[in-house]
Amino acid sequence: MKPRSEFKNYQHEQYHFRIRLGVAAIVVLLCFGILASRFFFLQMARYEHYQTLAENNRISLVPIVPNRGLILDRNGVLLAHNFFVYTLEITPAKVNDVEETINDIGRLVEVSSLDRKRFKKLRAQSHNFESVPLRTHLNEAEAARFAVNRYRFPGVDIKSRLFRHYPQGKMGSHLIGYIGRINDNDLASLEKSGDLSNYKGSDHIGKGGLEQYYERNLHGTTGFQQVEIDADGHAVRVLSSTAPVPGDNLILSVDSTLQSIAEEAFGDRRGALVAINPSNGEILAYVSQPTFDPNLFVDGIDSENWKALNESLDKPLINRPIRGIYPPGSTFKPFVAMAGLEAEKRAPPFSISDPGVFVLPGSSHRYRDWKPGGHGQVDMQHAITVSCDTFFYGLAMDLGIDKLTSFVSHFGFGKKSGLDIRGEIGGLLPTPEWKMRRFSQKWYPGETVITGIGQGYTLVTPLQLAQATAILANNGVTMRPHLVASIQEASSGISRPVPIVSTDKISLRPENMALVKQGMIDVTMPGGTAASVGAGSTYTIAAKTGTAQVIGIKQNEKYNESEVNERHRDHALFIAYAPAEAPKIALAVIVENGGHGGSVAGPIARKVMDYYLLGKTPTPPIPVVPAVTPEAGVPQDLTPIVTEDEEPHD
C-alpha cells in the first residue's frame, strides 16, 4: 500500500467515522432526553398519584376488635361473657398440603376427628387466605409445645382469641341466643345496613335471641391502628391508633334462678313458659323446652351435633315462646268473657242451664262440653271457674266472630308483641275475611262457636298468652314485653334503663274485670279446674286451665288419653297471675302433649310463682347457679402470647 493513499484513506475514514459518531451522540442525547422527560412525567406530573400509592403501600389499617358486651341476668349473674383462648389456626393459602400439615400437628397437639370435621366445614366457608381455626381451647402445655415447633409449620399460627362463652350452658339458650361465624348472608346484610366497616376483623355475629337482636349494642365499635407495614405485610411500627369501644352489657329482667327453676319444672316435657311482670312488661322467665347448649355454635357447630339438634322430634331449636303456635283452648275463655261482658251480652244475673251440649239452630251438629252431662246452672263467673264450654259456645254465637276477634285483639292476640327477640310470629285471630283470603271459603257459624272455647283457627304463641294474661292483670293496659331491663355502657358502667312503653289500652268496666278475675281466682279454689294448683298457697292465684286438641275427634268418638299416641295427645295450657289483688307476675305455660292444663302445666306455674313471690325453692332444691361456671379445662388466667392487635412477626 502506498503511503499517500493510506494517508488519504485515513483522512477519509476518520471523517466518515466522526459523522457516524456524531449521529450516535445525537441518538445518545435523544435517549437521555426520553429518560429525563420520563422523570419529569413520573416525578412532577404524576407525583401526587404515586405519592398516594406509596402511602397506601406503606400504611395499613389494622382493625382492633372490640370486646363483645356481656349478658347478665337481673341479679348480675353472667349469662354470656368472653375469655381468651389459644386457638391453633391454619391459613390454607400458605400451606402446601393441608391434610399432611394437620396430621403433623396431630402429633404435637391432640386433634380430634370432630376438630377435623369442623375445620373442613369452616374452610369450605372461608377464603383460602383467611386463617381457619383447627383447634380451640388449647391448654398452656399444648400452646407451648406447638410454639417450640412453630418453625416447622409455616402458615399455622397460635392465636389468642376472645371467645364467647355461655357459662349457664343450656339454660335460657332461646332467649340469650348465640353467636356464630359471619357468613355471606350476614356480610350482605351488614353491607346493606352500612355496618360492614365496623366488622373488619370480627369473625362472629349474633345469630339468635338477644345476641342477634342487640347485635349493634353488644358488638361495640371497632378500633383501628394505622400501622406502617413492609412488603410482607408485617407491622413495622404504629403510626396512630383509635381504641375500640367495647360493646354494651345487657342487663336482663330475667331472673336466672327463676329461669332454671322453670326449666327444671318441665322435666323431660316439651313446651314453653313465659312469665311477665304485668306492670312494666319485663319478662321474668322465658322457657323453651327442650333447650340446647349455645356454646356448640360459637366455633361453628359440627355436623353430628347439628344433625342431632335439627332432626330431633322434640325440635329443640324452635324458639317456642315466640314461634310455637298453639290453639289457646280454654285459656281463651276469660278474654271471650271480657268481650261478652263489655258488649253487655252476658251481664249477671244471666245464667244458663247447661245440658252438656250446644246445638246451633237448624243443625244437627252437637258441640259437646268437656264434661258429659254438663255443669248444671252456670253464670259467667262460674263458667270461667269450671271452664264451661256450652256457656262460651252460646256467647261466641251471640257476639259474632267480628266483635269477638276485634275485642280480644286488644289483649295482643293475632299480632306481634314487639319482644326484643327476632322472629316472633303473630299467631292468628280468624275472621271471615281472613278465611276468604286464605281458603276462598265462606265463614260457617260453627266456626264462631268453637272460637268461643279457643279452638278452630285461633292460634297463639306462649308469649301472646302470657302477655294477654298480663294485660288482664294490668286492667287492660298493654306494656311492651322486653327481656332487657337496661343497657350498660361497658367503659363507664352507666346503665340506661330500657324505656317502659305502653302500647295499647282497652277500657274495661271495673265490675266486669272484677267478675272475670274472681272467676279466675276460683279456678284455683276448691271446685275450680285447677284447685290442686292453688292448694296450700299463701297468696291468691288467678288462673285458667286449657287443653288444646292436637287431632280432631270425630262426632260420637270419645277422646281417651291413654289410647292416643303420645305426640297426638292434647297440649296442656295454663295461664295465671298472682297475687290476684296486686299482680306481680303473669305467666303462661304450655306443655306439649301434656294432657290437661291444670294437672300438668299448673304445677310448673306454681313452682315459678312460689319462687318469685315467696323465694321458695322447689323440693328437691334446684341449686342456685353460681355467678360464673367456667367450662372445665378452660384456661382462666392466661397471658396471651399474642394479642389481636399485635400480629406475630416471623
Binding site: F17, A24, F39
Partner: protein, 364 residues
C-alpha cells in the same frame, strides 16, 4: 523518585474519565447502603469489588492497543470455547446456566465476551479496512451472532442484548451502509413475530406486562409497578437518603442490583436523577471524544463500541426501572451491586484510557 513512580503509575489514566467514574461509584456505595437496609457488610463488599475493578482498569490502561489487537482473535476463540463449556457443563442457578467451574474459580464466560466481541470485530474491520466489502459485514454479523446465540440460550437476555449491541456498534461505526441499516431495521420489523416465538415465556410475559403492568400486579408486573411508585413518589427533591418508604419497607424487588436506580430516584428525586443522567452523559461524551480522537481504525471502533455499549447499559436499565422498556436483567453500570460486571465494565474503561494515552507514544 516517588513523584516519578506516581507519574509512571498514572501515566495512562484519563483523569476526567476516572473522576466521573469514581464519583458515580461513590454514589453507588451510598445508594447501596440505603438499599441494603444499612448493611455495612454489603457496602464494604462492594468497596472491595470497586478496588478490584480499579486494579483491572489500571492494568488495562497499561496494555497498549496494539497488544489488544493481537490478542483479539485468541480471546474470542477462548470465549467461544468457554461458552460451549457452559452450555455443556455449566452450573445452573436461578434457572439459568451461566457459570463455569474451572477447578479454582467460577467464571462467567459471557462477561468475557462483552470485551472480546467488540475487540474481535474492531480487529476484523481494521484488518479489512482497505478493501471492505459487503461480505465483511456478513462475516462480522456471523462472528457476532455466534456468542450472542450461546448466551441467549443460557438464557441471559440482558447480556446477549448488550453484546449484540456492542457488536452492532462496531459494524455501524465501521461504515455499514445506511441503506443496509434501514433495510435491516425493516427486516427486523418483519422478523419480530418470529423472534417473539423464539423468546422464553417469561421473557414474553415481561414484554407483555411492560405495556400493561396492571395485567399482573402481584406477579410479573409487580416490579414495574413498585419501581414506578418509587420514582413517582420521590418527587422533585426525593424523600431523602435512607427515607424511601418503597425501599426501606421492602416493596422494591432486587433493589441492590437491577432496580437500584429506583432506590436512588426515590430518595434523591428528580434533581438526583438529572445529576446522575448528567454524570452518565459526561462519561459517554468523554468516551465518544476518545473514540473521535483515536489514531487507528481498531482503536476508533473499539472505543466507540465500548462507549456506546456503556450508554446502552444505562439506557436499558433506567428505561426498564422507569417503565418505558421491558424488564431485562441488566444492572445499572457503576451503581448496581455486583463484582463481575463492574470488573468487565472498568476493564472497558481501562481500554478507553489506554487508547487515549498510548496515542502520543505511537505518534512519537
Amino acid at each position: 523518585m516517588i513523584k516519578i513512580l506516581i507519574r509512571h503509575l498514572v501515566k495512562h489514566i484519563d483523569s476526567f474519565l476516572l473522576g466521573c467514574l469514581l464519583f458515580a461509584m461513590l454514589i453507588g456505595l451510598f445508594v447501596l447502603y440505603s438499599a441494603s437496609g444499612e448493611s455495612l457488610e454489603r457496602v464494604s463488599s462492594q468497596f472491595i469489588n470497586i478496588l478490584v475493578a480499579l486494579a483491572a482498569m489500571w492494568i488495562a490502561t497499561n496494555i497498549p492497543p496494539q497488544h489488544l489487537e493481537r490478542i483479539a482473535l485468541p480471546l474470542y476463540i477462548l470465549g467461544l470455547l468457554l461458552l460451549l463449556g457452559v452450555a455443556l457443563f455449566g452450573e445452573i442457578s436461578h434457572g439459568a446456566r451461566r457459570w463455569l467451574h474451572l477447578g479454582v474459580a467460577r467464571i462467567q464466560p459471557s462477561e468475557l465476551m462483552k470485551i472480546a466481541v467488540p475487540m474481535l470485530l474492531a480487529w476484523y474491520f481494521s484488518k479489512r479496512e482497505a478493501s471492505l466489502r459487503l461480505s465483511d459485514y456478513a462475516i462480522g454479523t456471523i462472528l457476532l451472532l455466534l456468542p450472542v446465540g450461546f448466551i441467549l440460550k443460557q438464557p441471559d437476555l440482558g447480556t446477549s442484548l448488550l453484546i449484540a449491541a456492542s457488536g452492532f456498534y462496531v459494524l455501524y461505526l465501521a461504515g455499514l451502509s445506511w441503506r443496509l441499516l434501514l433495510g435491516a431495521s425493516a427486516l427486523m420489523g418483519g422478523l419480530t413475530p418470529i423472534l417473539w416465538s423464539l423468546l422464553h415465556d417469561y421473557q414474553r410475559k415481561r414484554i407483555e406486562i411492560l405495556f400493561d403492568p396492571s395485567q399482573d400486579p402481584l406477579g410479573a408486573g409487580y416490579h414495574t409497578i413498585q419501581a414506578s411508585i418509587a420514582l413517582g413518589s420521590g418527587g422533585i427533591a426525593g424523600k431523602g437518603w435512607l427515607n424511601g418508604t418503597q425501599t426501606q419497607l421492602d416493596f422494591l424487588p432486587e433493589r441492590t442490583t437491577d432496580f437500584i436506580f429506583a432506590v436512588f430516584s426515590e430518595e434523591f428525586g428528580l434533581l438526583g436523577n438529572l445529576l446522575l443522567l448528567l454524570l452518565f452523559s459526561l462519561i459517554t461524551g468523554r468516551g465518544l471524544i476518545i473514540a473521535a480522537q483515536a489514531q487507528n481504525t481498531f482503536c476508533r471502533l473499539l472505543a466507540g463500541s465500548i462507549t456506546l455499549t456503556f450508554f446502552t447499559y444505562v439506557f436499558v436499565n433506567i428505561g426498564m426501572v422507569s417503565g418505558i422498556l421491558p424488564v431485562v436483567g441488566v444492572p445499572l453500570p457503576l451503581i448496581s451491586y455486583g463484582g463481575t460486571s463492574l470488573v468487565t465494565l472498568m476493564l472497558g474503561f481501562g481500554i478507553l484510557m489506554s487508547i487515549q494515552t498510548h496515542k502520543k507514544l505511537v505518534a512519537a
